[in-house]
Assembly symmetry: C2
Homo-oligomer: 363 residues x 2
């Protein structure tokens, strides 16, 4: 997209998302939580998981009766260190937020804790939930399964989602390691962009409907994404496949949710309540003093960043560096949205009969 981005104040976007969701019968607390998670995604520069999805993933799905805006999650099983939650087809973000906070409280009491959420819906970026642990001096972990988009290594059926894992670990002075990664080589969005631009895919991104590796974006979109590591086992595709399956096991099998074989064989998550999540938190001071831990982690991150770049690279980035940089920029200068996304927000405003967000005036 070469069209100029439309810039918004993050608070303006937040208020708009909340207004729109309240208009489709989401209560104010939950609407604000969704706005917070979508906003965190846009602030960190992960546009695909931010307000870009407000219309089709959340507002439309509520209006069409797929997601229950008034559902309240239930605790199915609970111990001092564990929590199995049934989201009862609620929006994924508020349930995810509350469940991660409960996981953190349990870890604060017990040292570590693990939680699952079944029968939920799309929860946005996994990294948001893992990062909730940072200010509590804990290690945060989150994962989710997702609709069928990827094939197993050596296979050609759609048997896996992009199933991300996120890990957040606090260093000194607000610095942190934040890894938030799909277990496929790339997300579907990369194929869509390549198709739009008429550019070939990279090897290792996708297979066609017959299971052969393809560089044709259209063929890849009719085929399947490949697990991290790419086609076959030569470059470790079986490792990405294993990690993707692991996510389905920790989220759906452990949580008693909908496993991927029971999801519709489609490239789009349309059925309600088929998404499952996983959360964990570990108290750092159960192992060593937090200040010493953070000092060591800062030194480790610093040495990585200061190590020699390879040709063509200005420096080495560790997980979360680029996102933190974008967040600083966006807090200063506003969040720039693709005009297509800005237009979808205008449509949401019309559908829900609320005031659209006001862009920052061009300077």
């Amino acid at each position: 997209m070469t069209a100029e981005r439309v810039r918004y104040d993050p608070a303006e976007l937040h208020a708009f998302v909340a207004r729109a969701l309240i208009a489709v019968d989401v209560d104010a607390t939950n609407a604000n939580l969704v706005a917070t998670v979508l906003g965190a995604s846009d602030l960190r520069g992960i546009e695909s998981h931010g307000v870009a999805r407000l219309e089709t993933f959340y507002v439309d799905r509520i209006r069409d009766g797929f997601v229950d805006p008034r559902a309240r999650e239930k605790t199915v099983r609970e111990t001092a260190t564990s929590l199995a939650v049934d989201a009862c087809n609620a929006l994924g973000h508020p349930v995810g937020h509350r469940t991660m906070l409960r996981t953190i409280e349990k870890a604060a009491e017990s040292g570590c804790a693990v939680a699952t959420v079944a029968h939920s819906n799309h929860y946005g970026i996994a990294g948001y939930y893992a990062m909730l642990a940072l200010e509590r001096d804990m290690i945060g972990i989150s994962s989710t399964n997702a609709g069928r988009l990827a094939a197993p290594t050596g296979g050609r059926d759609l048997m896996l989602g992009t199933n991300p894992f996120a890990y957040a670990i606090p260093a000194e002075a607000g610095d942190a390691f934040v890894l938030d990664m799909a277990t496929t080589t790339v997300a579907l969005g990369k194929l869509e962009i390549a198709r739009r631009l008429g550019k070939p895919l990279e090897p290792g991104w996708a297979i066609d409907a017959n299971g052969a590796m393809t560089l044709d974006p259209a063929a890849g979109m009719l085929g399947a994404l490949l697990p991290l590591g790419g086609y076959g086992t030569e470059n470790g595709g079986h490792k990405g496949f294993g990690l993707g399956l692991l996510a389905d096991m920790l989220c759906a099998v452990l949580g008693g949710g909908v496993m991927v074989p029971d999801m519709p064989p489609s490239t789009h998550v349309l059925d309600p309540a088929i998404t499952s999540h996983f959360f964990a938190a570990i108290r750092i001071d159960a192992f060593r003093d937090v200040a010493a831990f953070k000092a060591d982690l800062s030194r480790l991150l610093g040495e990585m960043r200061a190590s020699a770049p390879s040709p063509g690279n200005a420096r080495v980035y560790v997980a979360g560096d680029l996102e933190a940089e974008r967040e600083r920029e966006h807090r200063r200068g506003g969040v720039g949205l693709d005009p297509v996304v800005a237009a979808s927000l205008e449509r949401v405003a019309e559908k829900t009969n609320v005031r659209p967000p006001r862009p920052i005036a061009a300077s």
Copy 2:
């Protein structure tokens, strides 16, 4: 290697490993634990981490005074759900085995538990420790850091080990998901084999000393391995880099051990007590009934295995399938070792003045 393999009964190899270690002053309990872990590796077909390493990684290092055969680990910090252990430069396998068992006991009491081990040595395959959780109906996790062999994404310095993660999850009737994966695209052994055979590397395996991708095995061995996902970020190399760093954080930073910047800048782990490990266990019945969990997991694994293979593949394998197949073969027909490995066992027998293992007579 095309030379014919030398076959041994697994029990004969086990007894030999124990004899040799006892001869270099390891106590019988610990010697048997090392033999068990090395044996598990050979049984599962992971020859690189089995008795192939007995001579140079364990016997020689004890004889040269690097590893303390009589050291006993100490508990540094402990709660109902956590355990920080100092291995005091002991052999990694017995400390790892005991620490994972203690982690499992804590999880049995508390629901989940996490442990670290600092100042340890090479502990063999990560999968062995994760798999100890299987018979207790738990999810087992293990990781270790390792000597500098890999470069960060966008970098060219040796800043990471192959840092594996292993996850073991029980299904019905002894079936299981067992993912045991280095976080580099390949291990160094793949480069050694390519050099021996005069074959080029695959793209994404290694960089040369200047940080450029190379297909030359010799140049790669003077350069660095690449993280899972390969060169640059196009195929997700930053994800593998993030996972490798995560291992260093969970093992060394959380455990208060030796972080990679403090390791010698070499491609070989030679310094004693610089390896750190991580263990975790999660009780399945904290979330749902074990029988229902296993039935679902068996169905999930079954659907993956039964899904359509891509051209050139007979079927889809899930993590641990090939290793379990090899274990069945090896238990039936014995473990076949490369003649080079068999010769190293003969050398160990000479050095330690114990009886060498007797091969199975050729039929």
